[in-house]
Symmetry: C2
Subunit: 205 residues, 2 copies
């Protein structure tokens, strides 16, 4: 692609560094910015810049936060002894949206994935193990994706903490609400039969 | 969507103003930036900012340029009397890539589209008519998209300049190179038969 302007070329090149945005999409976005008022692009660039330099990670759960201790960890009404282990802050947001969890979180920052060069030491695992060892934790809930990498990460953490005698659990695998049985894959269907729950408890939800 | 950080929320909101980028994609992009080195986000935001404030439009053809007169208009080897009328700079780039045009361009900045609230006065049409009237132009090539809006724009410009006695042409409509005949739509196929060209001239290309 040949550009008639170096400034334009640089903006397109920087934009196309983002995942899922190729040169053509980047050019489309940049040309859109040129059609909009100048203030809009300045606001975007300023927001990205401030976010990148000023955003903090909660010193307790590694969630993104504007202050040292995030709102969830600082909330006295949350049970500090139940920790939900998640991959990233999108999962925190998703679980918070359900309003069904009153404990706290621990954000790992990814999953163990040798294919992508991510080992346990790049993730916030050591601080989790330290927390389990030193604080009074009653339960650890693994809420990672149900993939090979998620299961590996779960198992790695489980091995490190199994001697501390705390309860560990994993979120239920089963048929999604609204799904037709005939389209469910056999592993999911199999697990949902093995892990069946009393009917009385299901109608309470 | 509830965010644990106002800075993050603002960055996501600004990012999702861009066309084709929703809140979820914006969040994915912003979280990616947080995983990359700080310098990368600063480089992106600086590139966008400089581009938006310093980029110029060629005073002759309205192409994007870093200087007053773009490279194409300033090139003494290009035929200044043949003008190719295009919608935006992406079309200039596409035609330049073919290396088959040695004239100059005129970038309209869009197409007449009442549905989107774009009338002839928002486009660079007046300057084109002035150019045709005052300078020695021999041919105007319409290279707009083959849509209702493109055809309307072509016709609007044609009506304004038809009395100045210059040649006007439009790029050929026909079967794309590599296309199977049976999948071509009937209007395209019909036009390609009506506008057939001597076989000798086709093998020279």
């Amino acid at each position: 692609m040949e550009f008639s302007s170096k400034l334009l070329e640089r903006a397109v090149n920087e934009m196309s560094q983002l995942p899922g945005i190729g040169k053509r999409t980047a050019l489309r976005l940049v040309l859109h910015m040129l059609r909009q008022p100048k203030e809009q692009t300045l606001a975007l660039s300023e927001a990205l810049q401030t976010m990148r330099s000023d955003v903090k990670f909660c010193k307790c759960c590694h969630n993104i936060s504007d202050v040292e201790l995030c709102e969830i960890c600082a909330n006295p009404k949350r049970n500090k002894d139940v920790i939900c282990v998640v991959e990233d802050i999108r999962d925190v947001m998703a679980i918070e949206n359900t309003s069904s969890f009153r404990g706290v979180y621990h954000v790992l920052g990814g999953k163990i994935s040798p294919m992508d060069g991510i080992g346990p030491h790049q993730l916030n695992i050591a601080s989790l193990v330290k927390k389990v060892k030193e604080e009074e934790i009653s339960e650890l809930i693994f809420a990672l994706s149900s993939t090979m990498e998620g299961d590996t990460t779960n198992f790695y953490i489980f091995k490190q903490i199994k001697d501390f005698g705390i309860t560990t659990s994993t979120i239920a695998r089963g048929i999604s609400v609204g799904d037709e049985l005939e389209y469910a894959d056999e592993i999911t269907l199999g697990r949902s039969i093995v892990n069946r729950i009393p009917f009385e408890s299901s109608i309470k939800l």
